[in-house]
């Protein structure tokens, strides 16, 4: 009731007529106010309106879907745009308050209605309440979690009410947690103790801080029972945290191992099977990453480049939504192709003259790597370029507090697929047969009519193409810049050498082993660098024990 009066009062203050405003009207008003505190007040007043409409409108505002158009009279009018675009990229605009069409506008000419953190905090609070009845369980869960962390007793009734109706198990658990957290603020010690027990029972990681506070407070006030209960709960949670960390480390190790595998498998082919030391392998990865960038730009707003003063403009499709999210699907084969083509050029231009001189192929390809890096700089600029992940790669599953990022899961699947694909290619296809024949005995194969030159070229193209694929993937988790390749080259060589040159299974095991070791050391030492140094040291010592790597291809011709 008070709120209602407040809202009415406010609308009166703002010169609006006195009737219960719809959420759309309130928001339309808020949009035009400069002062963010006033805006926040208006938004807070939305608390009693229809939750679904509030959610829809506030989300639209938050995500920049509402624009402020300046009309002919110079007044600001909030508008929304239709999805559909005409030939000039213009979209039909509607007045936000009335829905009336106001003509076609270009999105880039408009300013999106802004939000700042104070306003968003207010929005969040309103949204949380509204979200409690959201049909999306995930949103309900988030809302509940926020309420829990705020420990605001005023939210308790809403939560209790929701608890009786809630069906989703995750949300139920979140509600239990939130209620217990809020109850920690209760006057009554018995309630507090019960809440402690509850939090311990559900192994609530977020409650650790609150429980620690209780322990300190209770000890100071010598409430032994309460302190003990909180401490017991903390112990339970600590055990759980250990489990989460261990499981998380294992997963992270697996994912790091998969990344190593993905970036190294191309090298395992060029270095392992062909014996070519390609120091420009990293740049092949970068070519793949840049290809992904270009594809993304073509799906998006287009791209303008000016290498060596030549102006190149690629038109953009300005795709949105699902179509835009699909750019990555197209980027994968394209990055393979461009890198493979670059590989062919490199092999034909330089490497084929150096097959008998591995040390010199190392040096020449290092020269190539310098040249390529500089070419990237001249083409795409010295800055890193921006590659955004499609929405289906940015998110995570949280199982029992262990985090599984989608991008990480994807890289694991991707690695498995690549290894499977390469193995099949080598074992089951005619090309694979030729590759293996040439790699085992070049002269013999040549005598038998195999065009070894061509097989060399294709093998190198395959290795480079795989590097390109790796690049496409790297663009989703890290930097895309001219020196991207340099970040991975040492790791690549280490992985292949440890695995045993010429052996894909060895590379797989070594990549996973190095990944696991790295992540475990990081977790134990709490220091990312020390872990890495120890891994390098470990590799040097490992090669003492097995100088030729994990899996040795025994052959009579060890040398010469």
């Amino acid at each position: 009731m008070i709120k209602l009066i407040f809202a009415v009062l406010l609308s009166w203050l703002l010169g609006a007529s006195i009737y219960a405003a719809t959420p759309r009207e309130i928001i339309a008003k808020a949009l035009l106010i400069e002062d963010s505190e006033e805006q926040a007040k208006l938004v807070t007043s939305l608390g009693d309106s229809d939750p679904q409409e509030v959610i829809a409108l506030l989300t639209l505002w938050k995500e920049g879907g509402i624009f402020l158009n300046v009309d002919a009279a110079g007044a600001k009018v909030p508008v929304t745009l239709d999805e559909e675009k005409d030939g000039e990229g213009k979209q039909l605009a509607h007045r936000f308050d009335t829905g009336a069409a106001v003509g076609k506008l270009l999105a880039s000419d408009l300013n999106a209605a802004e939000t700042d953190s104070a306003l968003r905090l207010a929005m969040k609070s309103v949204l949380d309440m509204a979200q409690l009845s959201s049909p999306d369980a995930k949103k309900r869960q988030e809302a509940v979690e926020t309420m829990g962390s705020e420990q605001d007793p005023e939210r308790l009734p809403a939560l209790l009410a929701r608890q009786t109706r809630e069906t989703d198990s995750r949300v139920k658990r979140a509600i239990r947690e939130a209620i217990a957290l809020i109850q920690l603020k209760d006057e009554n010690d018995a309630v507090k103790i019960a809440a402690c027990n509850e939090l311990g029972a559900i192994r609530s990681i977020p409650s650790q801080d609150a429980l620690k506070a209780i322990v300190a407070e209770a000890t100071a006030e010598s409430k032994t029972n309460l302190a003990n209960a909180a401490q017991l709960a903390l112990n339970e949670i600590a055990k759980h945290v250990t489990f989460v960390n261990t499981a998380g480390t294992a997963f992270r190790g697996l994912s790091l191992g998969s990344i190593l595998l993905v970036v190294a498998i191309g090298l395992a082919i060029t270095f392992g099977l062909m014996g070519v030391i390609n120091m420009a392998h990293g740049e092949m990865i970068a070519i793949g990453a840049y290809t992904t960038y270009v594809v993304q730009c073509v799906f998006g707003p287009g791209l303008e480049l000016s290498p060596f003063g030549i102006h190149i403009a690629l038109p953009g499709m300005n795709a949105t939504g699902t179509l835009y999210n699909c750019y990555f699907v197209l980027a994968l084969p394209l990055s393979f192709l461009t890198a493979a083509l670059a590989g062919i050029a490199l092999e034909r231009g330089i490497i084929r003259f150096l097959y008998r001189r591995p040390l010199e192929s190392l040096l020449a390809t290092w020269g190539v790597s310098l040249v390529l890096q500089q070419l990237f700089r001249l083409t795409f600029g010295a800055n890193n370029v921006q590659v955004s992940s499609p929405s289906w790669l940015s998110g995570n599953w949280t199982v029992n507090d262990v985090l599984f990022g989608w991008n990480r899961v994807f890289v694991i699947v991707f690695a498995v697929a690549i290894v499977f694909g390469v193995t099949m290619l080598l074992k089951k296809t005619p090309l694979g047969l030729l590759i293996r024949a040439v790699m085992q005995n070049r002269q013999m194969a040549a005598c038998m009519g195999v065009r070894t030159e061509r097989v060399n070229m294709l093998t190198f193209a395959l290795g480079s193409g795989l590097a390109g694929l790796a690049g496409a993937f790297i663009s989703q988790i890290g930097n895309v810049g001219p020196s991207l390749g340099q970040l991975y080259i040492v790791d690549c060589f280490m992985t292949v050498v440890v695995g045993g040159v010429g052996n894909l299974i060895g590379t797989v095991i070594s990549a996973l082993g190095i990944g696991m070791l790295d992540q475990s050391l990081q977790q134990i030492l709490g220091n990312p660098v020390l872990g890495k140094i120890l891994v390098l040291l470990g590799i040097i010592l490992f090669l003492q024990w097995k100088p030729a790597g994990l899996f040795v291809t025994k052959s009579r011709s060890l040398e010469n």
Binding site: I277, I350, F353, L354, R356, R357, P358, L359, E360, L362, L363, A364, W366, G367, V368, S369, L370, V371, Q373, Q374, L375, R377, L378, V490, F493, M494, V497, V529, L530, K532, I533, L536, L537, I539, I540, L541, L543, Q544, P547, E559, N560
Partner: protein
């Protein structure tokens, strides 16, 4: 004909020695040659020493080490530690310990820093530390017969690991910033023209001495074995030589030479930090050697000077194109000039001769491939 070439080389070296040790410093003292030119050339000379060490390893023994920049930096760090101690309490904090230690919250000098107050000890460490690291790593690597590109990759890993370690502030060696702001060496102001001149002369003398030492080394039976290891390590084993010992010896000697070069470098350029020991730097030294001409002793010196002079000029005139030039040059040299600048006259003669007598071809290509 060969002795004739040797004579020419000796004359060149003698002339260079006089110019570097006597003439340039004298001209500098007289104000004809600027301090700036001296400092640039002092740096080049340090690089030349370093390049010789790489060539002794690569050109003569066939070991392409990507770890020479590490030894160079280690030598530099040892010298740097002494120079840091010599700052005394003239740092930003006016405390008797180096600034970065104060900043890390130290009030007393950590134990391992203490002996570096002595120049003699520091000089000893300039030699000892690279030697120890090289012995340890070399022993492991050569014992398990890691060779060729594996050796390169492993030295790369070693250098990478070391750089990561030195970048850490917890190493108490200045982290990313390394050591700078040196003030005194042997009581003299290290930035004064006279001191810099002295350092220049010292560097020139060391360069000539290292050149002489390597010249001598390569003419002994050791030199024969060394080159034999490069050409056919298997055969060397079947001639009863423990190739690993020979390689270890060269590796350690080269580490020491690199360390000394680093120690001379640091007071002249006034800074040492971990970026000096990154593998890129190692590869750059290899470019100098390849361009100058590997397997000769003059080649690396020429290469180091030419490339660095080119770099000084290009980074000013065409900063955008410098890497393209360096990379392109390198590819060209590897593909078409296996003997580098120094071998160019012979290569041209060979080309001319080949036109007349095609039979000489076999010899030439055989010698070009290691």
């Amino acid at each position: 004909m060969k002795s004739n070439r040797n004579k020419i080389e000796l004359i060149i070296v003698a002339i260079a020695a006089v110019i570097l040790i006597v003439l340039l410093p004298a001209l500098n003292a007289a104000g004809v040659v600027s301090n700036f030119t001296m400092s640039v050339w002092g740096k080049y000379l340090c690089y030349a020493i370093l390049a010789i060490s790489v060539d002794l390893l690569w050109g003569y023994t066939g070991l392409l080490s990507l770890g020479q920049s590490l030894f160079f930096a280690l030598g530099g760090y040892m010298m740097g530690m002494h120079l840091m101690r010599m700052i005394g309490d003239l740092g930003q904090y006016k405390k008797p310990i180096p600034d970065f230690l104060v900043f890390l919250g130290w009030e007393q000098l950590p134990a391992f820093w203490v002996p570096f107050s002595s120049l003699v000890f520091s000089m000893l460490m300039v030699i000892a530390l690279p030697a120890i690291v090289a012995t340890g790593f070399g022993y492991l690597a050569f014992r398990s017969r890691i060779k060729g590109v594996y050796f390169s990759i492993l030295t790369q890993a070693l250098t990478y690991g070391a750089a990561l370690m030195f970048f850490r502030n917890d190493m108490l060696l200045g982290g990313n910033n390394g050591f700078t702001d040196f003030k005194f060496l042997l009581g003299a102001d290290v930035r004064a023209a006279g001191t810099q001149r002295g350092l220049f002369i010292a560097t020139a003398i060391v360069l000539i001495a290292v050149y002489g030492f390597c010249r001598w080394l390569t003419t002994t039976k050791f030199g024969l074995v060394q080159r034999a290891v490069r050409d056919s390590e298997t055969r060397v084993l079947f001639s009863g030589y423990a190739a690993a010992n020979y390689k270890l010896f060269v590796f350690v000697i080269c580490a020491i030479i690199a360390g000394v070069a680093g120690a001379l470098y640091v007071p002249q350029v006034g800074i040492i930090n971990p970026s000096e020991m990154q593998t890129d730097k190692s590869l750059e030294i290899i470019v100098w050697v390849a361009v100058g001409g590997r397997g000769t002793l003059l080649g690396p010196v020429v290469g180091a000077v030419v490339i660095n002079a080119l770099k000084s000029w290009a980074t000013r005139a065409y900063p955008d194109l410098w890497l393209l030039m360096l990379g392109g040059l390198f590819i060209l040299v590897v593909l078409f000039m296996p003997k580098g600048i120094v071998g160019l006259p012979a290569q041209i003669r060979g080309l001319l001769k080949r036109k007349q007598t095609p039979s000489a071809l076999a010899t030439d290509t055989a010698a070009a491939t290691p």
